[in-house]
Amino acid sequence: MNNRYILPVIIFIPLLLLQITVIPLFAFYNATPDLILILLVYYSINYGQTYGTVLGFVFGFLFDLITGSLLGSAMLSKTIAGFIAGYFSNENKRDIYAASYVFSFIVLLCAVVDSIVYSFFSATELQRNFLLLFFEQGFLPGLYTAIVSIMVVVFIPGRRLY
């Protein structure tokens, strides 16, 4: 029972290490996949909306604290992402969502929202083309994250991370 609270935080630490050391090497047009978000979506689908919202908040807080980014920006974006992912936590369809390619679509949705909210609260320049902003700061990193999330579906089919 306690695994659902402790394990995500334990997995979070090595994932964050990867995120800030190795992942920047695979940047594509400044966009990098967000491994933390994939973990967040996975747990949110499995444990519900309230759990996802709180977990997103905790992940965001730790991310801001450790990476030196603006404290509160990732907290805000990850909380919203966890809330959205939790929408898909339906008792009957949970296993279908978490272990099929639908998972990647949920990740895409959450990653786009996460990236847009994060860039909105950490950037002040809003005078540029909104569509371009949406594509570069929302859709591109979101798509990259969704593609990487396919690995979760391929390598952990039908299994849970606990």
Binding site: I20, T21, N30, S69, L76, S122, E125, E136
Partner: protein, 279 residues
């Protein structure tokens, strides 16, 4: 009454929690500049940076071979330049003696390695493996062999966080090396730009941009980038100058911190002057 609240809680639990956490996040956002929050921030990243430095070392070792190759080439090019500069230095010293100008060209360089990067679209920062124990202080410029990388933002005992040029919170006074005109350079989330440049200023694509001695943050000439072109040409009385940085922030690994900080004496003098003007 209790039953009413209990019913509300049960029906809208998710939304109540979401709103509370969002409010908490927004409050935290507004507290970023508080000294206490900054201290906790630097302690946390300092503790984690010791772990990330181990991984960075492994990655760096794998990349050492290609880095060596590049450094050999840079070394050869520098050797050619050094010969030229030696001649200039001799002439320079003679002229300085004549003019009795203070020698301001020797600054302590503190070598460091990048242990982690947070390369977001607007708030790019790097964490380096030297801190206040090594004499690093907030405000010190960070450079590598290609030019200016950023400015130290906060330090712990053994690690420091630097804002790179691709950070919207960093603004630096720069100048065109050819025409000597000054301007404020910043990252607008998309490009490095010099803002509010009068249309009469002589800045052309291909000009080298260096830090200006007018800058209170980087008062030494360090190369920053090259002019790509002018924007907003058709509107208003100012142009915006687009710049390409010499430094590739994705691959930056070995850097130097220049051991200079903003002169408090100079700053106080200027502040007192402006206060007197206001009276």
């Amino acid at each position: 009454m209790f039953r009413f609240f209990s019913k509300i809680w049960n029906e809208f639990k998710e939304y109540i929690i979401l709103v509370l956490l969002l409010i908490l996040s927004l409050v935290t956002l507004s507290l970023n500049e508080k000294p206490g929050i900054k201290k906790v921030h630097s302690l946390a990243f300092g503790a984690f940076a010791s772990v990330t430095s181990v991984i960075s070392n492994v990655i760096n070792t794998a990349k050492v071979e290609s880095e060596n190759e590049r450094l050999r080439r840079v070394n050869a090019e520098l050797m050619l330049q050094v010969n030229k500069l030696r001649e200039y230095a001799v002439v320079n010293q003679q002229l300085k003696k004549l003019l009795e100008i203070k020698d301001s060209l020797s600054y302590p360089l503190i070598p460091a390695k990048v242990v982690s990067k947070s390369l977001t679209k607007s708030q790019s920062t790097i964490t380096i493996n030297i801190g206040s124990k090594n004499g690093v202080k907030p405000g010190m410029p960070v450079i590598n062999d290609l030019g200016l990388v950023g400015i130290i933002n906060s330090t712990s005992d053994d690690y420091s966080i630097a804002r790179t040029l691709k950070n919207i919170d960093l603004k630096i006074t720069v100048k065109d090396e050819r025409s000597r005109v000054d301007g404020i350079m910043k990252w607008n989330g998309e490009d490095l730009v010099i803002i509010n440049v009068p249309k009469t200023y002589d800045i052309e694509p291909g000009d080298r941009i260096i830090s200006s001695e007018l800058s209170s943050i980087v008062p030494v000439p360090i190369q920053v980038g090259v002019v790509l072109g002018l924007t907003k040409v058709g509107e208003g009385i100012f142009n915006e100058v687009k710049i390409k940085s010499y430094v590739d922030f994705v691959s930056v690994e070995n850097i130097f911190v220049i051991g200079i900080v903003e002169s408090k004496e100079k700053k106080n003098l200027e502040l007192n002057f402006y206060k007197r003007e206001e009276k």
